[in-house]
Every structure is written in structure tokens, then in C-alpha cells.
């Protein structure tokens, strides 16, 4: 078990932790943070596993992927935060309903 795998396992751990938080927390800001932590977990896995063979220079391609991924994550977070603020101003609270369809019933 090399240290690379340790990093990868930490990444997996972050991913799982984020998933847990996403499900458990009701507040939208926490959910958005949770998603970001999950994303960081994935990026960590990608970067760690870039060192495919011991000692050799790491593969640059996953690094490029992570940079792309970060760009995507930043824009997604921006959209999510903007939406959260709108939800809050419309409904008065930054949470989602438990029962998504209840308000559609007559």
C-alpha cells in the first residue's frame, strides 16, 4: 500500500463524507458545500492516481482534467448560490420541501 493510495483513499473518504452531508442537511448552503467537498474528493483521487508508476513523473493528463473540473465546479457553485438566494427570497427559507409534489395537489 503506497502513499498514493492513501491520498486516493482520503479522496474517497471526502466523497463519502460529502454524500452523507448532502443527504443529512436540509439547509441549501450546507448541501452546496457538501457537493463541493464531494468534488474535492474526486479531484484528489484523480490527482493522486496520476502517479501511475512508482518513481516516474506523474501523468499530466489527470491534472488537466482536474483544472477543467474545478472550472466546472466553480460555475456550478456560482449558479447554485444564486439559485439559493432566489429560493430564499421567494419562499423565505433556504430549504427544500420534504415532499416535492405536495404543493401541486389541489
Amino acid at each position: 500500500m503506497s502513499y498514493i493510495f492513501l491520498y486516493a483513499l482520503v479522496g474517497m473518504g471526502l466523497f463519502t463524507l460529502g454524500l452523507y452531508a448532502l443527504i443529512i442537511h436540509a439547509h441549501l448552503l450546507r448541501k452546496i458545500l457538501a457537493i463541493n467537498i464531494m468534488g474535492s474528493g474526486v479531484f484528489l483521487v484523480l490527482v493522486a492516481l496520476a502517479a501511475r508508476t512508482e518513481g516516474a513523473a506523474p501523468d499530466p493528463v489527470p491534472h488537466a482534467m482536474v483544472i477543467t473540473g474545478i472550472v466546472v465546479a466553480v460555475s456550478a457553485t456560482a449558479l447554485a448560490l444564486a439559485l439559493m438566494l432566489r429560493v430564499r427570497s421567494e419562499t423565505g427559507r433556504a430549504e427544500l420541501d420534504e415532499e416535492p409534489l405536495s404543493k401541486f395537489d389541489d
Binding site: 466523497f15 454524500l19 448532502l22 441549501l28 448541501k31 452546496i32 457537493i35 464531494m38 468534488g39 474528493g41 474526486v42 483521487v45 484523480l46 492516481l49 501511475r52 501523468d59 493528463v61 489527470p62 482534467m65 477543467t68 473540473g69 466546472v72 460555475s75 456550478a76 449558479l79 447554485a80 439559485l83 439559493m84 432566489r86 429560493v87 421567494e90 419562499t91 427544500l96 420541501d97 416535492p100 409534489l101 404543493k103 401541486f104 395537489d105 389541489d106
Partner: protein, 487 residues
């Protein structure tokens, strides 16, 4: 003759159009429509090219993989591009009358970005590029759902965004694991290298789970009905017709090319994939039942149509356990027919909403007399969804039933029959109320004729697809995306 780079044009054109629409909001509708028509023509150009030359691989800017980005077109991706172009053009025309300028200036750039993302997704030759396009598509789609404002739409959009991001991250984790194991994200290379290993299994599990969430297969469909029903009608149409299909396309692509692991220990992985296929089939069957029953219970028209999408997505997954070329073709024909019919149906629902100011099914109040074109569109689209002849839905249902009986798994075929009857029940529930008088007569609103006619043309197209099936089916053969590796 100069070789046209249609493959790149179908991505760059909508991107440019989106920027133009954004920068000059006063001319946004005109620029948007011009882009849509141009894009339709470009896809026709690409189709012509592929018919002449066969499947194409294109290295963008001359940089090949692994550093550059490769684009790839075969029959499967071409069909998806064509569906997108046809539905996209119709939605563009419909939207040009549907939105007032204050909404239109937001709608057009977002919609063209979405279109670009869809086209890029279908043309991607590597699984990481697919991730990027998937995210681009997701973000544009979420913004479109939020377009109508209001608490319902915003919370639905928010939920949709979280689900979409979650699904993408699952998928990306799978990509990371596959890249680590095989040092490539190119689908063609992966399909030769992938072998059965725990890492691959985890990767497959993560990717399938993420994509199922985005495709809204039962029981992961919870986000779809609120999102699809609270969006403006043209947005609902493109979400149901195109966006959920995109993640289905990725799943199918991976299933056909990356997952089959032909060079593995005989039987070992095949058995695993067999098991997974059975699970997908079961979930599909459950989606058919649940979607159908829920659709039947709805009192709001747009929610009914949204649940109908849940049902139809279930149909698509019935093809997995059949695992035959005819089954895949059936699923894709279903996808095509559903995209066209569901577009027509959401447009019709949008017209009814425009007209009466509400979409309570029991108070439709003689829509049959007042909006005959719209109701015809609804009915004809319903015929295709039910799978009655002659319609695109019928051809798909016929092929899928044939595949089910030929593979000795007739029970999957039975789900098609049940789904067809459920669909019949909810479609005619609406039509029945459209003939009768309601207690609450309302002030009729004005529905632009263009919106009625586009809906009808799409519905007629769904019917005509039943008469010209050999053409699209032959198109699917290009580059033999279904390969020989199938059982």
C-alpha cells in the same frame, strides 16, 4: 469540392449563436431562429457526409488524443444529433411565440448553450469530454427550469441542480478509476483494454448510478416531475425530449463499448453484466408501472405529462435484459418517437395553459371545440406514446416485443403491453375531459397560431415515423455501434 467540417460546425454554431443572443438582447429572437435553422441545415449536411463516408473520427484542431479532443460520429450519435436538431428546431419556432422579450433574452442564450452541449456530448469520443458536456448541459438546463421564476420553479430547479451535480460527480469518480486502471479516457481504446477487476466494477457501479440518477429511472425519478412540470412549456419539452435522453445515450454507449469486456475470463463478467441488465430491466418495469399509475392519478396536465416521461424512460431500460441488436434498435426508435411525441404533448399542454390560464384536467372545458389543433396534437402524440399503429411508438413497441419474445423473455414484453394500456388510460382521461363542459367557464386567452401548428406538426411527425421506419433503422447501422460482442 471543399470538405466541410460539419462535425465542428454543429458545436460551434450554437455556441456562437448563444453569445450573439446574449450580447444583442433586442435581436435575440431573430438571431436565435437563424441559428436554429442553420444548425438544422448543418446536421443535415453532417448526415449527408456520414451517409457518403461512413462513421467519422475527427481530431479537433489537428491535435489527436490524448492531448487533443477527438470527435466521433456513427449511426448512434448521428441519430441523436438528428433528434436534437428536429426537436430543437420545433422548440425554437414554438419559443419564438411563447416568450415575451424579457424572458426571451434569457431563454435564447441558455437554450443555444444547451443545444451546443447536447451536440458536443453526442460527438464526444472520450469519457472525460462527456463529463464536461454533461455538466454544461446540466447547468443550462437548471437555469432554464428556473426561468419562469416563482417558488415552485425555483425549488424544482434547485433540487434538479443538486441531483444533476451529484450524478455528474458519481460519473466523474468512475472516470477517475477507469483512467487510473487503463491510462486512457478514449472510448475506443478503453473498449479494447478494459478487463474485469474490482476497480472496474466500482467504476461501472458509480457511473451507472450517476447516469441513472440523471436519466430519472425509477426510483431515482423524484426530481423529474416537479422540474419538468414547473418549467415553461418549451423547456419542459426539451428536458423530456432531449436532456434525459442524453444521459441515457451515455449509459448506452458505455454499455455497448466499454463494459462488455470481451477479453475477460469467459462467463465471469458476462454473468455480472447479465445480472446488472436484469436489475435495469426490473427498474424499468417498475418505472413503467409507477409512472403510469402516477400519471393516471394526476389532476394537473403538465404533471401528468411529466409522469408519462417517467413511464417512457422505463421502456428504454427494458431493452437491457434483451441484449439483442433488434432490442437496442427498438430502444433507440422508442427514444426517437418519444422525443418527438413528448415535445408535441408538452407544447399542447403549454397551449392549453396559455389558453385557459390553468391546467386542471377536470376543468379543461371543451378544449376539443376551442383548440382543435392543439387537442389533435395531444391526441396524435398520445397515440404514438401508447404505441398504437401507425406511429413511431408502434414500430418501437413492435420491435421491442419481437426482441422479448425471440429472446424467450416474454415477461419484459408484457410490461410494454401494460404500459401501453396505462398510457391509453391517462391520455384518454385528458381527451375525455376536453370534450365535456366544465362548471368553471373561464375567459379564453389568445394562443398564437404558430404554437398550435408546431405542436401539430410534431405530433404528425410522431405518426409518420411509423410509416418510414426502415430509413432511421438503416441509419443506425452506420459504424455498427451495436457491434458483434452482444449475446
Amino acid at each position: 469540392m471543399i470538405e466541410m467540417h460539419w462535425v465542428v460546425i454543429v458545436i460551434l454554431l450554437p455556441l456562437t449563436g448563444a453569445v450573439v443572443c446574449f450580447l444583442w438582447p433586442r435581436q435575440t429572437v431573430v438571431s436565435g431562429l437563424i441559428t436554429a435553422v442553420g444548425l438544422f441545415a448543418s446536421v443535415l449536411g453532417l448526415t449527408w457526409q456520414v451517409l457518403e463516408q461512413g462513421a467519422l473520427r475527427y481530431a479537433v484542431g489537428g491535435w489527436g488524443a490524448p492531448l487533443g479532443i477527438d470527435l466521433y460520429v456513427d449511426g448512434l450519435s448521428l441519430l441523436m444529433l438528428i433528434v436534437t436538431a428536429v426537436v430543437g428546431l420545433a422548440i425554437s419556432v414554438y419559443s419564438s411565440a411563447y416568450f415575451r422579450l424579457d424572458r426571451a433574452k434569457h431563454f435564447w442564450p441558455l437554450w443555444l448553450f444547451l443545444w451546443a452541449a447536447l451536440n458536443a456530448l453526442f460527438l464526444s469520443a472520450d469519457i472525460f469530454n462527456i463529463y464536461v458536456t454533461l455538466e454544461l448541459m446540466g447547468l443550462a438546463a437548471v437555469a432554464l427550469v428556473a426561468l419562469s421564476g416563482g417558488a415552485n420553479a425555483l425549488t424544482a430547479a434547485m433540487r434538479y441542480l443538486l441531483v444533476s451535480l451529484l450524478g455528474s460527480l458519481f460519473y466523474l469518480m468512475g472516470v477517475a478509476l477507469l483512467y487510473h486502471s487503463y491510462g486512457s479516457v478514449d472510448i475506443a481504446i478503453l473498449s479494447q483494454r478494459v478487463e474485469s477487476s474490482p476497480a472496474v466494477w466500482v467504476a461501472i457501479g458509480l457511473m451507472v448510478a450517476g447516469l441513472l440518477l440523471k436519466t430519472a429511472l425509477f426510483p431515482l425519478h423524484f426530481w423529474l416531475p416537479p422540474a419538468h412540470s414547473s418549467a415553461p412549456a418549451p423547456v419542459s419539452a426539451l428536458l423530456s425530449a432531449l436532456v434525459v435522453k442524453a444521459s441515457f445515450y451515455i449509459l448506452l454507449r458505455l454499455w455497448l463499448e466499454v463494459f462488455p469486456l470481451t477479453n475477460t475470463v469467459p462467463g465471469q463478467f458476462a454473468l455480472g453484466q447479465f445480472g446488472l441488465a436484469q436489475i435495469l430491466g426490473l427498474l424499468g418495469a417498475a418505472a413503467v408501472l409507477w409512472g403510469g399509475i402516477q400519471a393516471l392519478r394526476q389532476t394537473r396536465l403538465k404533471l401528468l405529462v411529466a409522469y408519462s416521461t417517467v413511464l417512457q424512460i422505463g421502456y428504454l431500460f427494458l431493452a437491457f435484459p434483451l441484449a439483442s441488436i433488434i432490442g437496442w434498435k427498438a430502444a433507440l426508435y422508442l427514444l426517437l418517437a418519444h422525443a418527438v411525441a413528448k415535445t408535441a404533448m408538452f407544447m399542447a399542454a403549454g397551449n392549453i395553459l396559455f389558453y385557459g390560464g390553468h391546467d386542471r384536467i377536470a376543468d379543461l372545458d371543451r378544449v376539443a371545440q376551442r383548440l382543435p389543433l392543439t387537442l389533435s396534437a395531444f391526441g396524435l402524440a398520445g397515440i404514438s406514446l401508447m404505441g398504437l399503429p401507425p406511429s413511431g411508438g408502434f414500430i418501437a413497441k413492435w420491435l421491442l416485443l419481437e426482441a422479448a419474445i425471440r429472446s424467450g423473455q416474454w415477461w419484459w414484453g408484457l410490461m410494454l403491453i401494460v404500459g401501453g394500456l396505462l398510457t391509453g388510460a391517462y391520455v384518454f382521461k385528458v381527451i375525455g375531459y376536453a370534450f365535456t363542459r366544465s362548471d368553471l367557464p373561464h375567459e379564453p386567452g389568445f394562443v398564437p397560431k404558430r404554437m398550435e401548428w408546431v405542436a401539430l406538426v410534431m405530433a404528425l411527425l410522431a405518426i409518420v415515423l411509423g410509416l418510414f421506419a426502415p430509413l432511421p433503422l438503416a441509419l443506425l447501422e452506420i459504424g455498427s455501434p451495436f457491434g458483434e460482442s452482444l449475446r
